[in-house]
Symmetry: C2
Subunit: 334 residues, 2 copies
């Protein structure tokens, strides 16, 4: 990376800045022009789950979603890193059943639910987590729907499978550049490498899509609309994506990704945002994306659900406040 990551988030404890998180961020319009940037827009990154809406484009553009009568909550789930709450698990199970498929057809691997009540109930029932609880099970059920529509085989996560080739093609189209290899994600699907600027440009493509203009534009419009209409399906109660989308002063589609990634789609402005915390910390990416959206005026810094990510207190095991997480002045633009 030619330009170093810049300090974005401080961990304060008592009088000290105990830890520091640096990162890269880019705001683009749909032409790929940079509106604002921190760090290196050319940094090659794996945007992980922050680009699930790109991975869902072929599901709609191919006609698979229409042929299977998918609704808004299913499209939101296809873009989701859900917490495996009953809401999500029930919807994915119903979707799989509609396809005549079951949990065994997923290839995302099992993950314990992050819904505390469900997680505790499953432990008490000696019930192991299954693949439907995986935060990516909606994306994978979307992949299965597309594979069915294409008449392709069951190993839909193979990089050479028609589903993943379709994902690669749309990724290159909306980022405006060839992908730069891929990594295998936590859910076993390939995650295509691109630049920070390419990721932001892709988000701006979604932001500017606005309904008409071909299959991809229509698909992007539907996915953005589904995320904004169903924030509880995109993540879950108490999660950053869900709460910050709800708290926003204007339409906002927001998506976290592993290793400190975030993307944001701002339809009213035709802008896209990409953020990567260089060390991969989610506590920092949540703070930094909130700060960037506050700076843009999309979020109100006084809103309690914004505060809880923008500037949360650090409480210890007795509940005593012993520090805070806060964005750096450089990020806020103060």
């Amino acid at each position: 990376m030619s330009t170093p990551a810049i300090p974005m988030v401080e961990i304060r404890r008592g009088p000290l800045a105990e830890s520091l998180h640096s990162g890269h961020a880019v705001i683009c319009d749909a032409t790929g022009a940079i509106v604002e940037a921190w760090g290196d827009p050319g940094a090659v990154v794996l945007p992980r789950s922050s680009v699930k809406m790109i991975q869902a484009l072929p599901l709609i553009a191919s006609g698979a979603a229409r042929a299977h009568g998918l609704g808004g909550t299913q499209l939101a789930l296809a873009c989701a890193s859900h917490e495996g709450a009953p809401l999500h698990v029930d919807a994915v199970n119903a979707w799989l059943a509609d396809l005549g498929l079951g949990e065994d057809d997923l290839r995302c691997g099992p993950q314990p639910s992050r819904d505390k009540a469900l997680k505790m109930a499953m432990i008490r029932a000696y019930e192991p987590p299954c693949q439907v609880h995986n935060n990516c099970s909606g994306k994978h059920t979307g992949f299965l729907t597309l594979a069915r529509h294409l008449g392709a085989g069951p190993e839909y996560i193979d990089p050479d499978h028609p589903v993943q080739q379709a994902v690669r093609e749309v990724t290159e189209e909306v980022t405006g550049a060839p992908t730069q290899g891929f990594g295998i994600d936590g859910c076993s699907a390939p995650n295509f490498a691109t630049t920070m600027q390419g990721t932001a440009r892709a988000m701006a493509f979604f932001a500017a899509a606005g309904g008409q203009g071909g299959a991809l534009v229509e698909a992007a419009t539907q996915l953005t609309g589904a995320m904004i209409a169903h924030p509880e399906y995109v993540a879950g109660e108490g999660r950053a994506c869900t709460l910050l989308m709800r708290a926003a002063r204007e339409p906002l589609a927001l998506k976290t990704g592993a290793e400190g990634f975030f993307t944001a789609i701002l339809p009213d402005r035709g802008l896209g945002v990409a953020l990567k915390i260089a060390d991969g910390a989610t506590r920092a990416s949540e703070c930094a994306i909130a700060a960037i959206l506050v700076r843009l005026g999309v979020l109100d810094p006084a809103h309690p659900d914004v505060q809880r990510f923008l500037n949360p207190p650090l409480r210890n095991r007795r509940g005593i406040v012993c520090g805070e997480i806060r964005p750096t002045p450089a990020l806020l633009g103060n």
Copy 2:
């Protein structure tokens, strides 16, 4: 921090360096002279649980440990961030009972056990975690023992309490400099700020203590010996401190701390090590301390328990290896 943190640990996924952790590290002798350093030796830090052996010095130097007949496992527990396994819980409960005290007298707050079998059993029994399960309960029982010996009050975690004043005094003595304020730790005790160099010097004081020479030297010798003799009490099965102490080619006392800290005491060389990952990540501090100890020849890089921290594979939810954690060449000195 005048000198920036230097890249120490890479997170690789597929063909990419997905994330990067930077940090500071210092190796000192007991005079405080720097043998080797990465980043800024003058950086002011909170060494967190990595200095529990300093916090335990007054327990011995005051005569409290001898008066209460404490044994090696209790001294190891006083320096421990244990995982709350039955081994640790039983020992702390017995120690509290010896004092005529109970769990309510602790001030560390409750923390779920990190021993998986015990954690699951407690969830299934609807048994909430208590303060004895807190990783710091041994340190706190040491504080209670000292408070009893000093005839001081029950709020032993107050920064003005004689126990914490004693900790501050010995911290200044072994680091060779005034403390620079304090933060309140996760367990509610004050954690005194010092420099990277001061922390490494303190560890070298322990390393060089060697038995004779006054109350603090004797206390340091006993604590180092207890940690090395009882590595399973310092952390727990599967934990970095326990496994790396056991794997070492020579006597090694090793101690992790929150927010990416590690200290190491090398008695055969009279050297002390302090490490801080700037962003606070434990996955990086475990890799980086292993790398430094490999570089010194203390650890064999081919040992399986060294490999698991030095260069672990990243497996996804289906168990597929999709990347690795590895130290940078700059840290290994290649």
